[in-house]
Symmetry: C3
């Protein structure tokens, strides 16, 4: 599609500089052509303004003067999202309930919902209006899916779960698999049936092949607006607050409680039964050991305050071989001094 | 469902204190209501006995006196499993072989097995009695699945594999994908066909989106009673013993041999070609470097004995910046003393 | 199947020593029987030549004299791959397009392609000759799949993607799920529509349950001949060069650029927006912090040159408790010397 810059600006309520022109797409400064809109936020890429062929650059005031045509924004990422929405074409190529879908006669599927071939909707399940369930997705018995949700191909929502509105499950995401709970017995590990559920709030997005276990008892909860990346593991009875960012390959052990607005960077490990306070930020590959204060910034495994970590592990640890030499050297010198001073070791 | 406490106690062969009452569910001390049974094992939650609204608490002798109604147990987790079994309702809503399933005419499916729509059972595959194969699950040609197994939605068991009885595969688990094996050639990495298989013992459970590769040659083995959590990676030709616990996001490299009763905590990495002895326990996020003695307790990356790790990395490492200052200070003082003593550096 | 050693040798253009015999399979030295061919590369297993029952051993010159029958090779792993190809039987039991597959009327599927039941091929998708799409696999609208590809069960290739020839997707692999991109707004995290794509070169293999995100804008690229293991996470707009090895559970953050011939060992983390030069090798569980020079060998989290890492973290860190004692001891001695010398602390 192509849209006039003037029309795009009007649609978004933004001003622009330079001459009006056709905009046919969105791309990075490096790769955009004369029909593309590009964007600039990170000063690291400022030098690319000089060489970009982009027809127009979405950016904030100070940078705008550097290009002949700018779309002016006070929150570039937000307006980039809005621009991309104009050019985005949703995934998929079917509408309605396909004859090769399985929809249990006692399921309740909204008229405006789309169910692809090979999708499964179990007994008593509810699928809200405008929700799209792609091929191979599974909705278990009694599960309630809200309005405007997207279940991408081959994701699984086991029975008895609840999803709010506008929830997005990327392909292969699994919600409501059994939690990992066994009793030690003389005959081996006895499975503790996982009779709880999972409840997912509105506007939650869950990444490809992520796994969120059902509670042993009660409910595993994902709060409104929280975004979970790919290949994340959420244990049984975990409670995650609102507007958190849980980044790729992070794992959270059973019954831990994560506050609101928490950021866990990639490959972080959170053990069982800890609490992470609101607004805490944890660096990539950290290993949390215990409760975390609200607003804390941690790094390392075991995790400590990020500044202390980067000083201790980032700066000091690589110098350890040198430190060992310095200490050894001092020991010799000290021994020599003691000898000279006539002090003997007892 | 609701059951009299007296009937529940009789069913489990346990005694109870206090008056008989209706029990309608099981929940945590914090969330249980007057119709719920709760439980207490961990003394960390002892204080919750004072405020819980649970109608009855499953617990061991010493705690039982603190509540008006207790169900008495000598292995609370085991009896919790048995109680949960009373209240558990298995997942699923269909029985028999569905007309939208694909069952190869030369497959051998037991009469009491259940095959959901969109499940695939290949040529020559065998499915044992009472086994349930959910929607979207794949059973390759020649694969033999035992009795009483559950293959949850979208799990994959490639061709030529063997699963024992009562095996549970959580959604999205993949067994028998090709191992990662390439020969270096002048033309790039040449794939070594993975012509081995996977054999899974009785009572094994495998978590959501976990991947267990087929052997290059011979067999990748998972021993009886071993429980594998979500998003675990098991390389080709790995052999895991009986009754192990392999926790979320752990990875085990090719041809490594894990003994019986081993515990690998979350996000642990085990390289290729090492042996881990019976009963070894490895802390979360550890990185194993070589063979591990039976009964060893390790932590860290690279992993060392857990006690030494917590002292060296947990206690000492964060104090390194201070240690560097102390050493620098001593160096100055030492130089001053040497000067005072008339000793010169050569 | 069984083949004469002489016929096998002729087929591969190799010489053999000893008498001709029937070869019925391939196995490890430890497990091979008299009808099996085995192989030896790693001197660690040299002692097994004395006890192996293998009928013949594929190996290089110096080892060949130690066994009565050897198949002589100058690149044992490569010839093992070629031998295994002789004995390999491809997965699967169907041919052609099955009536229970969904193929959009506007898709273009080659006559020699195979589409299993419950596979989905969307509008405008192209499937090349001899390509096999297993049960439950999803090919989105407009996606182009080359010749000779294998899409194993339940893998997902979203719409608008491009795969070259001879690409292998192991079960559950997901290509083209949305990248993880949100704009911070006063109303929470606003999704930035991911309007880019994924392009995968010829001869690429992608492991079970691995996730490769579509670009926010433009293209996520996987270069020709690159082999990606299981449970790997590749962020949006990542560009990976040719002939790389990306090993299990590694994660690569958005927009990072990986050169040619790079090896990232298991559970490595690469952040957003860094460049890793050609031929770099990164040890398991490393955490990259910034750009990496071509040919660098790194280890640790944060990653530093591998030799320095093993000295600092492998050798020195475990000795820290002892070092702290030595320093404390010196401080005491130094204080004593200063006192003896009549030097006072200010």
């Amino acid at each position: 599609m192509t849209i006039k810059l003037s029309a795009l600006a009007a649609k978004l309520g933004l001003e622009y500089t330079g001459a009006d022109r056709d905009i046919a797409g969105v791309n990075t400064l490096e790769k955009a052509g004369p029909d593309d809109l590009s964007f600039l936020v990170n000063p690291k890429y400022l030098h690319q303004l000089e060489t970009t062929k982009a027809g127009c650059v979405l950016t904030s005031g100070s940078y705008a003067a550097k290009v002949p045509c700018a779309l002016l924004s006070e929150n570039v990422y937000m307006d980039l999202a809005r621009v991309a929405n104009v050019f985005a074409r949703p995934q998929g190529c079917l509408e309605g309930v396909h004859t090769l879908a399985f929809v249990h006669p006692d399921a309740d599927v909204a008229e405006t919902a789309t169910i692809y071939p090979f999708a499964f909707v179990g007994e008593g399940a509810v699928v809200g209006s405008d929700t799209v369930i792609f091929a191979g997705a599974y909705v278990g018995e009694g599960t309630v899916i809200g309005k405007g949700c997207i279940l991408y191909p081959n994701c699984v929502v086991m029975g008895g779960l609840t999803l709010g509105d506008n929830v997005i499950l990327q392909p292969g995401a699994v919600l409501g698999g059994d939690g990992y709970g066994y009793a030690q017995t003389p005959f081996g590990h006895m499975k503790i049936p996982q009779i709880g559920t999972v409840a997912v709030g509105d506007d939650v997005e869950i990444g490809s092949n992520t796994a969120i276990d059902r509670a042993a008892l009660d409910t595993t909860r994902i709060g409104r607006g929280t975004k979970i990346d790919n290949l994340v593991q959420i244990g049984h009875n975990v409670e995650i607050g609102e507007h958190c960012l849980i980044i790729g390959q992070t794992g959270i052990g059973g019954s831990s409680v994560i506050g609101n607005g928490v950021v866990l960077a990639g490959q972080t490990g959170v053990p069982d039964n800890v609490r992470i306070g609101d607004g805490a930020m944890v660096a990539a590959q950290s290993g949390i050991l215990g409760d975390v204060e609200p607003g804390a910034k941690l790094a390392g495994s075991p995790a400590i305050p990020a500044k202390a970590y980067f000083k201790a592990v980032g700066v000091c640890t690589p110098k350890l071989p040198e430190l060992f030499k310095r200490v050894k050297n001092m020991e010799k010198e000290l021994a020599a001094l003691k000898a000279a001073a006539g002090v003997s070791d007892e």
